[in-house]
């Protein structure tokens, strides 16, 4: 039994602690820079508060086990999981729970080898690189392939579990993926589930939030919509959401990229000299050229849709690319 260092009547100014750690700054930026995601922000605030209180308790000598910090982010693609992982690393670093606060983002390919004896060194190498920071495993459920019992993914999981348990001070692991597939992954790996303390769910963005995200992205790139373009983009979101492979903010970014291509081509083909303003503005025409405004008639599998040239840059054309 450890003796409390301070008398129980001593008070501690939590607000001062909070300011001192510089966490407020990160949380405020999180609020300001990320659109929507209210439940996620609340969870992050909760976790930050818990860690802060834990730190104060530890200083007062109140025994508490070191908190388990491994997390699981579930949500559809493009909902901000990777972005949040970067912020989480910053918060953990400011609170002193990880030393360096860098994020090593990996997928199955980086962890699992291709032949016997290849997996362990590969996984260990990644773990070594991630020590002192956060290991972000995207689409973590791919690590486990129940249909193939000789799959090397299991080996990677075991090494991962061992480090997650024994070197909690050195490394925080964040798993990310679709909610339903992560649930199945945890069902078949109860050891993994029990070692993850925080499950954070990312809701989908609504259209207003996506439009806001689009405007911020454009502002970052020094572009903007004109009024008609903005209205057309709202329409676009409405159409796009109904289509398969909708990936929230990532779809928005891809769409904006394609609109920039169309804008460039429009300016290039136009005979008139362009002003600085023209270079920045995306018009309704740039938006409305999208394939999603032109419903395609059903085509045979493997046959190119007849209007393929309308939007040749649209990765949605490729049905097997599930991330778009």
């Amino acid at each position: 039994m450890t003796q409390p260092l301070a008398a129980p009547t001593d008070t501690i100014d939590l607000a001062a602690e909070y300011r001192e750690a510089g966490v407020a700054d990160v949380l405020d930026r999180l609020d300001a820079e990320l659109v929507g995601l209210a439940p996620v922000k609340r969870r992050v605030r909760e976790i930050a508060a818990l860690l802060l209180v834990d730190r104060v308790r530890e200083r007062l000598g109140l025994a508490s086990t070191p908190p388990s910090l491994h997390m699981c982010f579930t949500g559809n693609p493009g909902t901000g999981k990777t972005t949040l992982a970067l912020r989480m690393a910053e918060i953990l670093q400011r609170l002193g729970y990880v030393r360096k606060g860098h994020v090593v983002a990996v997928t199955r390919d980086d962890l699992v080898g291709q032949f016997i004896g290849h997996t362990a060194p590969k996984t260990k190498d990644v773990l070594k690189r991630a020590m002192g920071g956060v290991l972000f495993i995207d689409e973590a459920y791919y690590l486990f392939r129940p249909e193939n019992e000789k799959d090397y993914g299991q080996e990677a999981i075991e090494i991962l579990l061992q480090v997650m348990e024994n070197q909690r001070d050195d490394l925080v692991v964040i798993l990310a993926g679709y909610a339903d597939r992560m649930d199945r992954f945890f069902e078949s790996n109860p050891g993994m589930k029990s070692r993850i303390a925080h499950h954070v769910e990312f809701p989908d963005y609504n259209n207003a939030e996506l439009a806001q995200i689009a405007e911020r992205m454009l502002a970052d790139w020094n572009y903007r919509f004109d009024a008609a373009g903005r209205a057309a983009f709202d329409d676009y979101l409405h159409h796009r959401r109904a289509k398969p492979h909708f990936a929230n903010a990532r779809s928005v970014r891809n769409a904006l990229d394609r609109m920039r291509l169309r804008q460039a081509l429009r300016l290039f083909d136009g005979a008139t000299p362009v002003a600085a303003d023209d270079l920045q503005i995306l018009t309704a025409a740039d938006v409305r050229a999208s394939r999603h405004f032109h419903p395609t008639p059903p085509t045979l599998v493997g046959q190119a849709p007849p209007d393929a040239e309308i939007d040749a840059y649209d990765p949605d054309r490729i049905p097997e690319r599930s991330d778009y």
Partner: protein, 141 residues
Amino acid sequence: MRITQGAFSFLPDLTDAQIAAQIEYCLRNDWAVAIEFTDDPHPRNTYWSMWGHPMFDLADAAGAMQALRECREARPGHYIRINAFDPSAGWESVRLSFIVGRPAVEPGFRLVRREGPGRTLHYTLESYAVGRQPEGERYAT
């Protein structure tokens, strides 16, 4: 006879915390840390065996310390050293090298005298441990 090679070798053996602090210093300078081991500690034997690859994109000493623990476990009774390689242009060489593990008993070296033509003497060193046992068993306890 205690072998003194590399930095810090006239100091008492570094503790793990001190080793981690040194590695931290290397990483701060963007040097790549590598672990090497041998049981032939002749001063002219510069080519020790590598334990894994040099760790080029390490951010924190914990990763190197874990590799060091693994090396100690797999190679008991060996000399282990840490090399820090500076890849920056103009240096491109090892900037720091220090021993982080040594066998419990170090029998040391014998001075060998070889007589040459005209009663000249050639001197060389020979390790007792290396002469006694084959590789891998030299410092086994």
